[in-house]
Amino acid sequence: MLVPKEAITQYIPHREPFIMIDNLISATTERFESDLFVKEDNVLVENGFLQESGLIENIAQTCAASFGYLDREGEGEPKVGFIGAISKLEVFGLPTVNSTIQTVVTPMHQLGNIYLVKGESFMEGRILLGCEMKIVVTG
């Protein structure tokens, strides 16, 4: 594990109650991986399930934490990024409260400060959601 949840806010600008990532498990220029335990009091939980918006935000925060980690490794300061666009979104299921999801993000293209990534979230090996996301990194 690269960054435990106790230290994750050192790498992302998000703060409670809007932190949608626990541990950053791995981050290379080719692949990012994180996990998240879905707590009952998560603000994006409804009727016992983390909603699609939570899964999408989890993918975005996995990118943020990974870019932040890689920036630090390169002796730079973590930059702020935001979601520019989401496409090819497919939802196959939602995770229940008290389950843990794993998220894998693959950077596909970079043009200047815009990154196109493919994100997928899983629960017990079963895919929950997949999408492509354009992340705009500032600074």
């Binding site: 043009l111 815009i114 705009v136």
Partner: protein, 88 residues
């Protein structure tokens, strides 16, 4: 089929490019002319340029960078750049 898989002429590359750009960006193929401005004709914003880079790579097997776009104003500029990268 990529332009590099079977050696295509520049004219063939241009015709194929007009096909996939008109389809992807929903623009009249007849507006994709060498003298027309690429950004204005395709109505590109900064995020759309990423889609353009992906399309070019998938269809022509040509990798473009942000630097490349500094020399592109018209479709003619774009075809010349692609031709150079494909050594046509």
């Amino acid at each position: 089929m990529h332009a590099n898989d079977v050696k295509m002429s520049l004219d063939e590359v241009i015709e194929e490019t007009r096909d996939f750009l008109s389809e992807e960006f929903e623009v009249d193929r007849n507006l994709i002319l060498p003298e027309n401005n690429l950004k204005d004709t395709l109505d590109l914003d900064s995020l759309d340029y990423v889609d353009l880079v992906v399309l070019i790579e998938e269809n022509l097997n040509v990798k473009l960078t942000g630097e490349d776009f500094k020399e592109i104003s018209t479709f003619g500029d774009f075809y010349r750049l692609v031709g150079r990268k494909l050594a046509l």
